[in-house]
Amino acid sequence: MKIVVTVKLVPDTNADKRIDPETKRLVRTGVETVLNPFDEYALEAALQLKEKAGGDTTVTVVTMAPENGKEVVRKALAMGADDAVMLSDPQAEGSDVWGTAHALAKAIAQNGFDLVVCGTQSTDAITGELPGMLAELLGVPGLTYLRKLEIDGTTVRAERETDNGYARISAPLPALASVTKSINEPRYPSLRGIMGAKKKTIAVRTLAEAGVGQEIGNAGARTEVTGFETPPARGKGEVYQAADAVAGAQKILEFLREKKFV
């Protein structure tokens, strides 16, 4: 079985985010680049499926990123992925989600796959749109927001998180799955994994090599960022001064009832 995990390289989540007022894009210079934390859950889910399935199951990481991001991709290999495909092309700069999905779909189709696993969103742009688009472009069922993911023969069985619980869903392979943070606890790359990652292949491809045309990059973008604003600072929470613990507890209960938490 061939499992593909899509990953994105994002600015360190702990660093302050800045947007360049000229280009209206996130400033990525001077900030360390890391694997999108959500994608680590996707990779962990894929690695667990591989460990369970055994045999000749492989996990390939696919990303679209500048070539200097190789070291970050190596972390995915150190965690246990077998190899990686990197779409690196100056032309890709300025791609919107649709352009990215389009390019990734080409690269994934070229690689071949039975299952694609994605994180639900990235910590930089946070659109959460990519998995759905990618499933559509690959022409396979998309099972999204999963908190549980299993493969049973040629069927994917999963639990999809909903507002008030979860839904059991399934689909035949090939398919695409996106997983949430509740699905697992991503592993650390081991020393053995880090030392072994050097020997694994990262295939770097240009857009042309992946068969991607003009649909992508600044020119092909279908969306445009017209402006941006910092959200207003969150107001201070309400502070109650309760006379004693019982009165305080009652107040909390009232609040929870009001918000329909209980």
């Binding site: 081991s190 020393l191 880090i194 030392m195």
Partner: protein, 382 residues
């Protein structure tokens, strides 16, 4: 000249930092308060491959270099010095003698489980009456009918009495050389040897979660082939081990100092007096600037010594300089870190209180500051 770490070194440092932040740091206060040996953290470090970091892969290690090892010890110690010394003593002192001096059979039997972190091992040099004067060993081992019969006492031995401890390698007098001086050899003594007992854990000022015990040998009998390395080379061999060990003690000191500096920096920005954060006072800014300057200096010395070792250079001088300097820097830094915290820094709920207590041993263990100066003077040719 090139100050960039390699991709492997960076990846290992990042792994250790993430591990230390997420797994070690949250446990540090409680481990200190309970003087509780962190079996779970040792297991996790073993699973990650840290316990065998610099040893060859064929012996269960990860095959990484000394720079990576120093960075690993530094990052773990930044979160908790007890966990840092547990790792450093395991690798540098417990396991390295087998890697450097062991026969193939000894490596298979001991180095492999040690590198996998399934077993810990002690390094028994110090005795109640032989500390800095390590050659003043009184422990004796007599070869009788194919066995060493050992009698004596060892003091302050790290990792010697945990549930995972498999034994301790000691220095012992095994005869007299042709000049009539005591002949000292290394013997590996397994934990279950009759006549070999460990005291309860010492009650300590710092490194409370690390395991330190006194060892007693009363007619303890081990097979002749537990001799490690050449007969009569025991002191030289152990001093050689300590040369490398100094790089890891430097890493312990640098890591501890970084941890204390970071706590002080965060606290200074938060704590308000006279209507503003205390970080706005120049007196506090100067302290923080000096702390960072000294830490950077110590770290460069540590990395330089590690680099020399990795590149097959003579590294005794730079290791000793780095050990001495970073130990003294760690003292100045923890001292100012507590100062910046004021009274809160004296309270155990604040990590700097633990760091202050954990620091002192850096100036004593594996050669005191005075002994480092003696070593440096000797290497100068004085």
């Amino acid at each position: 000249m090139n100050f960039d770490l390699t991709a492997d070194q960076r990846a290992i440092q990042t792994l250790c930092r993430d591990f230390a932040e997420n797994e070690v740091k949250p446990r540090a206060e409680e481990m200190d308060a309970q003087a509780e040996f962190p079996y779970d953290l040792v297991k996790k470090m073993a699973d990650l491959g840290l316990m065998g970091l610099p040893f060859p892969e064929e012996y269960g290690g990860a095959g990484a270099d000394t720079i990576s090892y120093a960075l690993a010890v530094m990052e773990i110690s930044r979160a908790d010095a007890s966990t840092g010394i547990t790792l450093a003593a395991h690798v540098s002192l417990g396991s390295t003698p087998f890697a450097m001096f062991g026969t193939e059979e000894q490596k298979q039997k001991y180095l492999v489980p040690l590198a996998r972190g399934e077993m810990l091992w002690g390094f028994g040099l110090t005795e109640p009456q032989a500390g800095s004067d390590a050659g003043g060993t009184r422990t004796r081992a007599e070869l009788r009918d194919g066995s060493w019969i050992i009698n004596g006492t060892k003091a302050f031995i790290t990792n010697s009495g945990t549930d995972l401890s498999g034994g301790t390698t000691i220095t012992a007098i095994t005869g007299t050389d042709e000049k009539g001086r005591p002949e000292i050899s290394n013997i590996a003594v397994p934990q279950d040897t009759p006549g070999f007992t460990r005291s309860k854990k010492y009650r300590k000022m710092g490194w409370k979660a690390s395991d330190t015990r006194e060892l007693a040998f009363e007619d303890a009998r081990v097979p002749e082939d537990m001799l490690l390395g050449a007969r009569g080379r025991g002191l030289k061999q152990f001093l050689k081990i300590l040369d490398g060990g100094r790089i890891s003690v430097a890493a312990l000191s640098v890591g501890l100092a970084m941890g204390a500096y970071e706590e002080a920096l965060a606290y200074a920005k938060e704590r308000r007096q006279f209507g503003q954060p205390i970080s706005k006072f120049q007196a506090i800014q100067f302290k923080l600037a000096d702390m960072l300057m000294e830490i950077e200096h110590a770290k460069l010395m540590m990395l330089r010594a590690a680099w020399e070792k990795d590149n097959g250079r003579e590294f005794e001088m730079s290791a000793s300089l780095a050990k001495l300097y970073s130990a003294e820097v760690s003292r100045r830094v923890v001292n100012e870190a507590v100062q910046i915290h004021g009274g809160y820094g004296f309270m155990d709920e604040y990590p700097v209180s633990r760091m202050y207590r954990d620091q002192k041993i850096n100036e004593i263990g594996e050669g005191t500051n005075e002994v480092q100066r003696l070593v440096i003077a000797r290497l100068m040719g004085l």
